[in-house]
């Protein structure tokens, strides 16, 4: 095994922050059975990212997040309109909207991306290996790669969101009518969740690309849901999953000499599989007698 350098540390941190940033809103998508809306958003933000990039000329600009959130919102609205007002089935509406937005994004990238360093490979593969050597920013007197700062900021944003909106999310995910009675507007909650998803997707885009972003959205939450039975445990499990996938993914990428983002996803999937097998073999804590009596 090669030496563990500071670059490895930054790679692992970026992967961990990205996985955490996606996993925190992602678990709510899983709980609300909206994982595929997450997929639709991760593809639909592309035109917004390209426009934001062309407008600002940099991949770390807040314009990317604004453009992406706008496009994510447009996609979700489009799917809703096609489904409820247009009479198209929801799955077909999702398929039509996200492919159209994605096609628009790729076309714009080809048409205008020639003079800038935004290329289609980044969409499918992510570009963390090159981005880690990119521009550096100074945070608290320390020089850290821009991508680590971006993903760390996204993770912070996601953590603040799920912390502040916890009761709102809980009520609207499990009992929307009750949430409405409590004046915790479930529609607003849904919109907020989707906006935060669009924002973290922008950060994940550079790390793992559009499609594998979906894995980071779903895998930590899905794994945590296999083991956790209380909300704090759920978020602890998500953090552990994100950290382990980052470390193991880094190892795997080193051993197999493959794409870093893909390695992180494969490591996360392996953790998911192990957890599922362990949960199946009842290696998790057994319910207490009174819980069993209640069930």
């Amino acid at each position: 095994m090669m030496h563990f350098t500071i670059t490895d540390f930054w790679l692992i941190s970026a992967a961990f922050f990205t996985a955490l940033a996606c996993g925190l809103p992602g678990v709510w998508l899983v709980l609300r059975r909206m994982s595929l809306t997450g997929d639709a958003i991760s593809h639909s933000v592309l035109p917004g990212i390209v426009i934001g990039f062309l407008a600002s000329g940099s991949l770390d600009s807040p314009w990317l997040v604004i453009g992406a959130a706008a496009c994510g919102w447009l996609a979700v609205m489009g799917i809703d309109r096609l489904h409820y007002a247009g009479g198209v089935r929801e799955d077909a509406a999702t398929g039509i909207v996200f492919t159209t937005m994605f096609a628009l994004g790729v076309l714009m990238m080809h048409r205008y991306g020639g003079r800038v360093d935004l290329d289609p490979d980044c969409v499918l593969f992510g570009q963390i290996d090159t981005a880690i050597h990119g521009k550096r920013v100074s945070v608290g007197g320390m020089e850290i790669p821009g991508i680590v700062a971006t993903s760390g900021f996204a993770a912070l944003l996601a953590a603040i969101f799920v912390f502040l909106a916890h009761h709102r999310l809980l009520a609207s995910a499990f009992d929307a009518p009750h949430a409405r009675l409590l004046a915790r507007a479930p529609d607003l909650t849904r919109a907020l969740l989707l906006a935060v998803t669009a924002a973290v997707v922008v950060a994940a885009f550079q790390t793992v690309g559009a499609i594998m972003t979906l894995a980071l959205l779903v895998l930590p939450g899905a794994t945590a849901l296999l083991v956790a039975r209380r909300m704090p445990g759920l978020f602890a499990a998500i953090t552990v999953h994100a950290a382990l996938s980052a470390v193991l993914g880094h190892q795997l990428a080193g051993v197999a000499n493959c794409n870093f983002g893909a390695a992180v996803v494969i490591a996360g999937a392996a953790l998911f599989t192990l957890t599922a097998v362990a949960a199946r073999l009842r290696l998790r804590p057994q319910p207490t007698p009174e819980e069993r009596a209640n069930s």
């Binding site: 899983v30 059975r33 909206m34 994982s35 595929l36 997450g38 997929d39 593809h43 096609l82 247009g86 009479g87 198209v88 089935r89 799955d91 077909a92 509406a93 999702t94 398929g95 039509i96 996200f98 492919t99 159209t100 994605f102 096609a103 628009l104 790729v106 076309l107 080809h110 048409r111 020639g114 289609p120 499918l124 593969f125 690309g209 559009a210 499609i211 594998m212 972003t213 979906l214 894995a215 959205l217 779903v218 895998l219 939450g221 899905a222 849901l225 296999l226 000499n257 493959c258 794409n259 983002g261 893909a262 996803v265 494969i266 996360g268 999937a269 998911f272 599922a276 949960a279 199946r280």
Partner: protein, 410 residues
Amino acid sequence: MSALATAITAALMIGLLCGFFGTFVVVRRMALTGDMISHAVLPGVVAGLVWSGTRNPWVVSACAVAAGVAGSLAMRAILRHTRLKPDAALAIVLSVFFASGVALVSMFQPSGAMAFLYGQIAALDTRDLAFLTGVTAVTLALAPWMFRSLTLVSFDPAFARILGLPVRAIDLAFHAALTIAIVVAMQAVGVVLVTAMLVTPAAAARFCTPSLGRGCLLACGLGAGGALAGVAVSSLRSGLPTGPLIALCLAVFFLLAAACGPDHGWLPAWARRIKIRRRIESEDFLKSLWHRDAGHAEKPMTPSTRPMLQRLAADGMIASANEPAELTARGRDAASGLVRAHRLWEAYLADVADFAPDHVHEEAERAEHWIDQDRMREIEARLGKPARDPHGSPIPPCPSEDTPTNERSP
């Protein structure tokens, strides 16, 4: 064969193929399963490319189908052994299989992998084209045979089983054939936009016809047309990618079909709603003229508009389009038919459906526009030719038989 000719032939074939399979994908609500398959086949495609070394389409397709089956099995395992819902299982399989494919691509860098990821319709060689032609020809030759059993299995598997159809085998064959179609189409439009090829033409066809057979033909036509249009636009200028242009052309077709589709397109549906509203407003106006002539001063006049008066005058319901309107004999018959429908329905609700007499008026206000002559006769016979409605007003007799107003389908 020039690159453009290759592209045109391939676009035509792939459009037909995807139109056919897409029809069933849409009616079976499998749009996102199709998306999952297109991503899940990637490791198989890459493995096939690495293994065969020469981009042999048979090897690649076989490996891709194997990977697609593995994806479906993985999804089934997740659903069976965990409490995760289908959307999460689908998302996990889709993204993890794709990640494995990306890892394989980055490890072995096989030539030709980029064609599957991004779609390069002009880069297809004669062997790919022969394979594509073979797949399309076999599908379209078998289509008339498969159509009936596929329809049955898609809409009512239980009934299909009772008929003795091998439902599971048909499902498996459909999945395998769909996977091959997806692998073939991926080379034209890329991994993400295959879903557009499958779903968009078929969903557009649903706006144009309620029949599955005609919808299928139309989807094939739209698919081929969209693919050709995409190729045409991309050939206008170098550097324009074909795949996204095909997807965007299909999206334009979809919007056109959704807007103008005769079956339940938005504009025809809107026109129908307007027509119905106009009819109801005119009928309410005729009725209020009737009440005015009968001296029921307590009933307010329904407001009229100039176009409404002109339409009624043209139909011969009122004497002229000028205020104050005067009913013709024909208009009086039509209006009394409406009053008759109203009062009969009130009597029916009060006597048979046991409504309180003060609750029937609002219901009858709606029903009077929808009850036709036959239904009125039926109600009248059932109530034993009542003379008065629950409020004591007389029910007008049946107007002369040739009055057209209430002869309409509900």
